[in-house]
């Protein structure tokens, strides 16, 4: 893992209920750095998350809402969160028991360190 991304990833993945955190190239959907629990397919998660974030960012721009800072998707078995910065997307996967307020705060702080 790149040392430059170690601190941002660690700040998120150490939170209770967070299963994975990764830095993804928004344009390519490729993993740049990651901290994952066993059993998570990083490539698939990165590709789909980046596509989702990119699509929503474009939608927001088309609707004159300016840039998307944070995205949270709630599903039956957990949460997918993403925060973008300078062409990179910080993606986290969390269980339903995770405290999403803390996760959001950690993600926003970590995303600012990505540049």
């Amino acid at each position: 893992m790149s040392a430059a991304f170690g601190a941002p990833l660690a700040a998120v993945v150490r939170l209770r209920g967070v299963l994975a955190c990764m830095v993804v190239d928004e344009a390519d959907g490729i993993v740049v750095a990651s901290e994952l629990h066993v059993g998570i397919d990083a490539d698939v998660l990165a590709a789909v998350s980046a596509a989702l974030f990119r699509g929503l960012r474009r939608s927001a721009e088309a609707a004159a809402l300016s840039s998307v800072t944070y995205l949270q998707l709630e599903a039956e078995r957990g949460f997918l969160c993403a925060a973008g910065h300078d062409g990179l997307v910080l993606v986290a996967l969390a269980e339903p028991r995770a405290q999403m307020g803390l996760v959001r705060a950690a993600m926003m702080g970590a995303a600012e360190q990505l540049a």
């Binding site: 490729i30 490539d43 698939v44």
Partner: protein, 162 residues
């Protein structure tokens, strides 16, 4: 737009791949350059050129991979200013096939790689058992190349199965 195919088993995997990835162009071909299906092209000559180039690039990359790592390189990717291309081989019952696709900012390398894995599985499932083709690089190669191009662009008859 639906893919045009020379062999029926290619249609479903190719159609799904281009739909999921939003690729602009895609070709499924044999490693000798014989086209099996295509999406996005309107002229036979473009398909012929793309197949020849893709087969040559794959052959070179395969040889280079063997030299460097003792095994062929699995996937090849080139990024342009607006468009990017992806080329990869996958096993099929009647011998390996190549998938060559071009995509732009509507898709991404990550998505293309992800859906290529689905394409790979679909190809293996959709090809019925059959003996390998007898004319891979034989004297009938040119005729075989032109036959499939003719089928794709409406000047020949589609082979109903593999």
């Amino acid at each position: 737009m639906k893919p045009l195919v020379a062999e029926a088993w290619v249609e479903q995997p190719l159609e799904r791949f281009v739909r999921d990835t939003r690729a602009r162009f895609a070709i499924v071909l044999r490693t000798n350059g014989q086209v099996l299906g295509q999406y996005g092209f309107t002229r036979a000559v473009d398909v012929m050129s793309a197949c020849a180039l893709a087969a040559a690039i794959h052959g070179s990359a395969e040889a280079l991979g063997r030299e460097l790592e003792g095994a062929p390189f699995r996937e090849l990717y080139h990024a342009g200013a607006q468009r990017q291309v992806f080329l990869a081989a996958t096993a099929a019952v009647r011998g390996p096939v190549l998938l060559f696709c071009a995509f732009d900012a509507e898709s991404s390398l990550g998505l293309v790689r992800m859906y290529f894995q689905e394409f790979r599985r679909a190809v293996l499932e959709s090809v019925p058992e059959a003996p390998p083709p007898a004319t891979s690089f034989g004297p009938d190669l040119e005729r075989a190349l032109h036959h499939n191009l003719a089928v794709l662009f409406g000047r020949g008859r589609q082979t109903p199965t593999a």
